[in-house]
Amino acid sequence: MSNPTTEALKGVAPSQVTAKPIASNHTTRKKGDFKGRKFLLGSLLPLIILGSWQYVSGTGIVDPMLFPAPSSIIKEFYEMVVSGELFRHLEISVLRALLGFLLGGSLGLLFGLAVGMFSKFEELVDPTVQMIRTVPLLAITPLFILWFGFGETSKILLIALGSFFPLYVNTFLGVRNVDSKLFDVARVLEFKRVNQMLRLVLPAAMPNVLLGLRLSISIAWLVLVVAELMGADRGIGYLIQDARSFMRTEVVFIGIILFAAVGKLTDSLVRVLERRLLKWRDSYRG
C-alpha cells in the first residue's frame, strides 16, 4: 500500500502539493561563511559513513562481493569513465528521460492550462485523466511492452505518461488559484486573449507549474529505471541489471550513485529557475 515507488508513479495528489511548499527551498542570501559552514555540516554525515565503510571493508567482517569498499568503487568508476562505457549508458538514459519528459510534460502543461481555463474542457477531459492517474504505472508497463515492444517507443511513452500527471495536476490547480480579481483588471485593461494567458494566468500559476515541473522530472527518472530494468541493451538501468547478474556490485553502486547525481542536478536546475521566476513572491522563506 505504502510502497513509495507506486505512490510516486501515480503522480501527485493536490493535497500533497500544499503539504510541501516550494518556498521552503529558497535560501535567503546570507553571509558566505555561513553557506560554507552549512555545506560542511551537510557533508559531515556522508563522510563519516564513507570513512567507517572503508574501514569495515578492510577488516574482512563483511563480504566484499556484497559491500565493496568505496575505494574499489571509485577505481571501477574511473575505469568506466576512461573506457567511455559509462558515458555511453548515461547518454541514452538521459536522452530517453528527456524525450519522454518533454513529450509528457508539455502535454501536461497544455492540458492543465486548457482544463483550468475552460470548464467545458474540464468536464470533457478531467474525469478520464483522473481515472488513468489512479492506475499504477507499473501495471500498465506490460501492456506498453506488448503494444510497442522492448524498443525506445515503449520506454519514451511510458516516461511521457508518468511525467504528464504532476504537471497536469499542478498546472490545473495553479490556474484555478489565480485571483479572480485580477481577471477584472485584465478586462478593464482590455488584455487580448493570448495576453490573458501569457501575462496573467501563466505567471500567476507559475509557482504551481514549477512544482509540477520538479515532480515530473523526478517521475521521469523513476519510470526510466523501471523501463530500463524491464528490458534494454543500453542505459544506466541496464547497467545495473547487467552488473547484478555478474555480481559486479561496484557497478551496481555506480549506477545508483549516477541516478542520484543526475536527479540532484536537474532538481537544482529547477530550483535556480524557481529563484529567478518567483523572486516576486512575498512568502516565508524558511
Partner: protein, 258 residues
C-alpha cells in the same frame, strides 16, 4: 466647461439570487461633465460599487442606459479607468511593468509615457521594485498610473484610499488633485469619507440605501487648494453629514469619518 461626458440614465439594478430579488439601484440619474470630479457617498451596501461597476461596463445586466460621450457602454475598456479599493497590481511585475501591463516597454512611446507617469505619481527610484516592496499608498499610486497610461476618458475610483492611514490618505488626495490639475481627468469617486469628498470634488452625490437613489447633490464651489479648516469647508461637511444621517433608523451603526 460643462459638456456632458458621462450620462447615467434611469439605471436600475436588481440582484436575483435563489428566487428573491434585491433591488440595489433604483432609476438613478446622473450626468458628469467633462473634467469634473464627482464624489459618491452613502451608507455601506447602498450600491456605490455596483454603480461604478455598471459605469465601467463590468456589469451590463441592468435596466437603463449608461452613455460615455453619447455612446452606450457595453463592455469594460481602457476609456474607463478603474481604481479598485485594493491596488490589484500584478505581483510578478515590477512597478514600471505593472504600469505598462500588456504594453511593451521596448516601444519608445510607451517607455516615455511610463517614465512621465512615474514622475507624476512620484515613484522615481522604485521603477524596478515589486509590489511586495511597496507600501499601500505607493501601490495605489502605481494603480493610478496604470490607469492613466491608457488615457481614460473617465477615471472610476472605488474607495481607493479607504485602506490607507489618515496621513497617507491626505497625501494621496493631494496627489490626485495634482493629477487632475495636470490632465483634467474626469473622475467618479466613491468614498466613505466626507472630508475627502469635500476636499476633492466639484459635486458630492449623497446616495440613499435600499434601493439606492440620489438623496441630494451638494455642489462644492470652493477654489482649489481647499483648506480643511476653513469655515465654508466645515459648513459643507456638516451639510453632507446631515443629509447622510437624516433618516437612517435601520442601521445607525454606519459611521462617517469627519
Amino acid at each position: 466647461m460643462s459638456t456632458a461626458l458621462l450620462e447615467i440614465v434611469d439605471v436600475s439594478k436588481t440582484f436575483r439570487s435563489a428566487g428573491d430579488a434585491v433591488p440595489v439601484l433604483d432609476r438613478l440619474k446622473l450626468t458628469v461633465n467633462q473634467g469634473e470630479i464627482v464624489s459618491i457617498i452613502g451608507p455601506s451596501g447602498c450600491g456605490k460599487s455596483t454603480l461604478l461597476k455598471i459605469v465601467a461596463g463590468l456589469d451590463i445586466d441592468i435596466e437603463g442606459r449608461v452613455l460615455l460621450e453619447g455612446e452606450p457602454v457595453k463592455k469594460p475598456s481602457q476609456e474607463k479607468g478603474f481604481i479598485f479599493q485594493e491596488h490589484r497590481l500584478f505581483p510578478w511585475l515590477t512597478v514600471e511593468r505593472n504600469i505598462a501591463a500588456d504594453l511593451s516597454l521596448r516601444k519608445p512611446d510607451v517607455r516615455r509615457k511610463v517614465d512621465e507617469l512615474i514622475k507624476l505619481v512620484k515613484l522615481q527610484g522604485f521603477e524596478k521594485a515589486y509590489p511586495k516592496q511597496l507600501s499601500g499608498g505607493m501601490s495605489q499610486r502605481v494603480a493610478i498610473a496604470r490607469a492613466l497610461l491608457r488615457n481614460p476618458k473617465v477615471l472610476l475610483l472605488d474607495e481607493p484610499f479607504g485602506a490607507l492611514d489618515a496621513f497617507t490618505r491626505s497625501h494621496m488626495q493631494e496627489a490626485l488633485l495634482d493629477i487632475w490639475r495636470e490632465n483634467r481627468t474626469t473622475m467618479l469617486f466613491v468614498t466613505h469619507d466626507i472630508d475627502e469628498a469635500v476636499f476633492l470634488s466639484h459635486r458630492v452625490i449623497v446616495l440613499d440605501a435600499r434601493p439606492g437613489r440620489i438623496k441630494t447633490i451638494v455642489p462644492i464651489d470652493l477654489p482649489f487648494p481647499r483648506k480643511r479648516t476653513g469655515a465654508a469647508f466645515q459648513e459643507l461637511r456638516t451639510l453632507i453629514l446631515r443629509a447622510l444621517e437624516h433618516e437612517e433608523p435601520e442601521n445607525g451603526s454606519v459611521s462617517y469619518t469627519i
